[in-house]
Each structure stands twice: as structure tokens, then as C-alpha cells.
Point group: none
Chain length 194, copies 4
DNA sequence: AATGAATGAGAGTTCATTCAT
DNA sequence: AATGAATGAACTCTCATTCAT
């Protein structure tokens, strides 16, 4: 993951192509041509096409986990923390839209070992978020009549679906959408007030 | 798309393999072996590998559209119709889980012409559902402070995400999950009672 | 190992090229060009370049083992049997000279699994021949002052070296050389008459 | 071919790898890694991978020829000289076992020019040894009923085969094996006494 | 209706070697 | 003396599809 002009250009080209055409449909030849380098140069920095794919997963997993840790570390009322996480993950996902597109579409193209690593790191994220929800439930502010896995899937689903409908050039701004989706999610999981 | 033992076996094998390995990673050879037929026989019924993929899209689009039409035709209070649609689409998606898995992962593998057809038919579904939401908003029972596209994306997202987390052999039954997700969705979009 | 015009032509071309240039230096492209077939056709019959190499080992191992079994089965005075084996293995090795050339030069290019199989089958041959020598020693007609492994290596070495010096178009005929080498070998291992 | 720490380490690594994996299967990268130097450093001392291979041939040819010359120069009864050559060549070959392994397996990987040089120098050795045998035949102590090329091939074969069966860690010591093989060879070529 | 041999283009990857530094 | 990035050609192998039978 060194940063050199060649490695950067290759990674950027790979990301764009994987997002628009899919991993399997993109040839190494296309990548190096788009990056303006030779195949040999690319293989000097990356051991395989799979390396390029994994770099995308690594970037998104690393970033999202760090953001989650930071928000949780800041503390506050549990519901406020959950809302902050929700807003942040939507905004970050919009910033990393091409990565997100690849993320959910191409997981089965990773080598088994790397697929396992991705799964493990996703579970870490999942467990940390689930703990937040459990705490809110213990505090009596989040409903318990729906199984927690369903609540959490309901959270992930919005993030997941972003790359299928949201366009940065569309009418809704990133900030607005993040706030709106967070609102919809919070409304659905909190206990009714009166 | 006639129904013959050979064609059926091929389609079934293709569906299973596409869902578990992805379209691009599955070879025609694997499909015909899994189906217990020869390549020649397969190419007698299907013109290309792409035909097999499209058949999956066709089946799911046809079914879901028909269900939507039926439920809308039955009439009733708008919110009840929306809830019925929501419950039904979750249940149907669980019944067609392999198809759903392929649906969201492999759309970019279709030939451009067929990709357009799929997009067109999805838009038909989308427009019909959006009309329901618009009616509910006009009736004052669904909130208008969130843009309608966001509300609708919020609906689709749960359906979309199902194949990534739900397991028929897990603790939640199809019926329960459908009801729970419908409830979460409805709660988030309806106007507060007071 | 089916016999078709394509498979035969490929095997023959591979044998010639492997013998003259070595396995690693011969490309699949060269083989199919020499055989007058396409790469696809070749890969229809053989799963890998390694298959072609192994076919050579298989042929020579199968043949030599069958000949040894037959000669031993015919029975006779032990020394006569040993001499017959010796004559026959030289003649057979001359008939299979290209195979022999490849045999000793390219064993380390086989996949580990196949290398093991070759080693196992060579050991079978070795053990059967060693039993003959042991019997002759027990009968007092073969010397025991030299360790049996050395006697046997001394036998194999002539066979092994054939492809490095013998030319079918040279002055010595196959039959003559076989008889002469058998004579040299027998003279060196038998006990002196007095 | 200067002697520097780098050049020595490279040559040693190359020898080990060529002997265990074969020349073609060994990459320059593997060699420099095993030697603990960089590619650039290696190419500073050697012009090509072929240089490394030829160095092995050069060492063994030079040594064996010098030993033969020395032994012949010492003089003595012809049969004693032949026996001394035979003992010495076996011992030397055991000392240079990795070189010997490479020698017989990789001759066809040398560039044509160097292959010719190796062939020429082998012939020099061959001719000198053949002259010894001819002298012994003229003296009536070596049989003439077997063509001289066959006698000589019978000599070379044992040397050649050593790397295929002898293990320095096995039961037979270098000295013993050398004496035993010399004995077998001499017994086979000398005229019967009584 | 069905076979399976054959095609030919293109896939990912390796590698000895060069060269600016 | 030594680095290591970069080259470019060649490598083995795969695959959707065709076609004579």
C-alpha cells in the first residue's frame, strides 16, 4: 500500500472501473491502460488483481471503523450517539460511493482468506453498533418488541442501498440525506413517547 | 423459454451457481455439469449465457409486478395497502432469495439492451409504488417533510438487504420478519398521531 | 489417454520437443504448432502441459514394468533371468530413446503428486530387480562383497546413460549394444569362477 | 568471475537452487533473495542468468580435467592409472554433487555457444581417457571384444548416475563407493586371467 | 434433440533484463 | 558498487460459442 504515482494511478483506475463495470468484467489490461502504466509496473506494486480489490475493502473498512470508534468515544446520550453514527456513516458512504458500490457487489470475488478478513472486520463494526443498540434498549429508549438483528439490518440496509439510488448531483445534498435517513431510522426504532 | 426437463435443469443449476459464486465466476461448463446435460443441449434451448441470467431477472420482475398489481387492485385504506405491499414484497423476496441475490449483484453483467429492459420494468414498479405514497401524503397520513425519493429508497433498501443478512434457517420466520420490517417502515414514514 | 488424431499428434510433438529442448523451454504454443492443431483443441484432450509430460513417464514405466514381469514370469536360472532383463531393458530403452531422454532430465518438473507416483512405480521396479539380485546372491552366483544398492545402481547407470551417448544411426546395433552392456554388467557382478 | 562476497553468495545460491529445482524453474529473483543481494548487484557481476549456469559447468570441467591430467602425469601401470582415474572421478563427483546434478540435467539450457564449449571440453576429457583405454588394450590387459565407445560409456555411466542415487548421508562412504565402483568397472573391462 | 470436438480471442501473471539514479 | 522501478514479450490456461454429425 505504498504511495507512489504509479500505485496511486492504478488504484484509482481500478476503483473507477470496478465500480462501473464490475470486478470480473474489468481486465488488468484495461486498468493499466486507464492508469497509463504498463502491466509490469503494476505487478511491481501489486501481487495480483485481487490486491487491487482488497485495497478498496481495506480503505472503506478502516475509515468506517475509525469513525465509529471516534463517535462512540465522544460519548453522550445513547440515542444521540446512535444518531451521530447513522448520520456519519451515510455521509462517509456518499464520500466513498465508488468504494461502496464495489463493496457490496464484489465480496464474493475476493480470495477466501481475504473474504474472511473482511467478514471479521465487518463483524467488529457490527458488534460495536449492536452494543450501542443494546444499551439503548436497556435504558428503555429503543423498542424491544423487534429482534435486535432486525433493527440492525434495518440500519445497514439504508447504507447499503445508497449506491443504488443516490446521486451526488441530484437534488438532495449529502448532509440532508444523512439527516433524513437518520431521522427515519431513529423514528422506527425508538419507543413511542406518549 | 419453453419448459422442458433440460431447460428447467439448466435454469435451476444456473440460478444456484450464480447466487453462490457470481455470474462471471460461473462457467457454462459448470452449469451444464451441475444440470447433468451437455453444452450442445443447453445451447439448443438458450442462445447465450446471458439468456440464463436474464431469465432470473424476468422471473423476479414478473412476479413482483403481478403481486403489486394484485394488491393495489384489491384496494383499501392507503396505509393498509402500503403495509400489505411491504409485507408481501419481503415474503416474496425471501421465497426468491437466490434470485434476489443475483438480482442486485449482477445487473451490470446483463447486455446493455437487457439492462435497459430491467431498468424500465423496475421503474414501472417504482412509479406504481410512488403513486401509493403520494396518495398517502395527499391524504395527510404520510409525512411530507422528507423528500419522497428518500422515503421510497428507504422502502427498497430493506428488500435489497435481505439476501445479505436473512437466513431461512435462522431464528426469525419469514412471516415475522415481513411484519416487523413493514412495521419499522410504516412507523418511520407515517405522521405522528399526537 | 484416448487415442485420437489430435491427441496423438500432440503427444508426439511434445515428446520430440521435450527431448530436444527440454520441458521448461518448450512452450505449449510450439507444441500445438508442431502438431498442427490449435491450443484449444489440445486443452480439450489434456488438462495441462504437465499432462503431456506425465504421459511420457506413464508410457515408459508401464512398458518397462510389464517387460520385467514377463521375463521374471518365464523363469530360468537366476543369472540368465538377470541377463535377459538387462538385455531387454537396454533394447527397450533404445526403442524409447526420446522418452528416456525426457525421463531422467525432467522428473523435477512434474507436479509433486505425479512425481510421487513416478517414484513409487520406479521403486516397484527397483524392488523386483533387487529381489532377483538377492536370490542370485543367496545362490552364491553373485558377489556379496559389494553392497547390493551399489550393484543395482551399477545396473541402472548404463540404462540411464544410453540417451547421452548412443545413436541408433551409429556403428553399434541395438542388439549388439544390449548384449555387450549385459555382458559387462554380468561380468562385474558375478563371482569369479576360479 | 572475480571473487567478491556478492559474487560468491550469488553463485552459491544459484547452485543450490539449480540443483534442487532445476535451472528453468529458478528465477533470478529467487537467486538474489537466497543470496541476500539485490538484482542490480547481481547484474553488476554477471551479465545474465546463463552466466551463473555456465560458471557451474566451468568449475566442474576445470577441476575434473586437471585431476585427470595430474593422475595421468603421475604415470604407472596403465590399469592402475585407469583405476586411479575411476576412483578419483567418483570421489570428486561426490564432492561436487550439486554441480553434477545440474551438469547432466541442464546442458540443453546453455546458450548454443556455451553448449559447444562444454561439448568441446568434455571431448578433450573423453579423448584423454580413451587413449588410456586404447593403451591398455594394446598392452593386452583390457578386452577388445567390446567396442571401445561402449567400454567408455560404461565408465561414464556410473559417474553420471551418482547424483541420482548416492546420498552422502547414506550407509556407504565416499571412499568405499569409489573403490567399489572402480572395482566393478575394472572387473568388467579387463581380460580374464585364468 | 443432442453431441462434443474445435475455435480463437483474451485472461492474469511471470520474468530476464535495462537504466536512471 | 548498488538500487529497485519499469519494461515488454512471452507464458499457461480459460471460456463462450460454433458446427459437423
Amino acid at each position: 500500500m505504498k504511495t507512489t504515482p504509479v500505485a496511486d494511478a492504478v488504484l484509482k483506475a481500478a476503483l473507477d472501473l470496478f465500480a462501473s463495470q464490475g470486478y470480473a468484467t474489468t481486465s488488468v489490461q484495461q486498468i493499466v491502460e486507464a492508469a497509463g502504466v504498463t502491466k509490469g509496473a503494476m505487478y511491481h506494486y501489486f501481487q495480483s488483481k485481487d490486491d487491487l480489490l482488497f485495497a478498496i475493502y481495506d480503505r472503506i473498512l478502516t475509515l468506517q471503523k475509525r469513525r465509529l470508534d471516534e463517535i462512540v468515544a465522544q460519548g453522550g446520550a445513547t440515542l444521540d450517539v446512535i444518531r451521530a453514527v447513522c448520520v456519519d456513516v451515510v455521509e462517509t458512504s456518499i464520500d466513498l460511493m465508488p468504494e461502496g458500490t464495489v463493496f457490496f457487489r464484489s465480496m464474493h470475488m475476493l480470495t477466501p482468506a481475504r473474504n474472511q478478513e473482511v467478514t471479521r472486520r465487518r463483524r467488529e463494526y457490527h458488534d460495536e453498533f449492536a452494543a450501542l443498540v443494546a444499551r439503548a434498549q436497556a435504558e428503555g429508549v429503543v423498542r424491544t418488541d423487534v429482534p435486535r438483528p432486525v433493527l440492525i439490518a434495518h440500519f445497514y440496509s439504508d447504507v447499503h442501498y445508497l449506491s443504488y439510488w443516490y446521486s451526488p448531483s441530484g437534488p438532495e445534498s449529502k448532509t440532508e440525506v444523512a439527516s433524513q435517513l437518520a431521522d427515519l431510522f431513529l423514528r422506527s426504532i425508538t419507543v413511542e413517547d406518549g
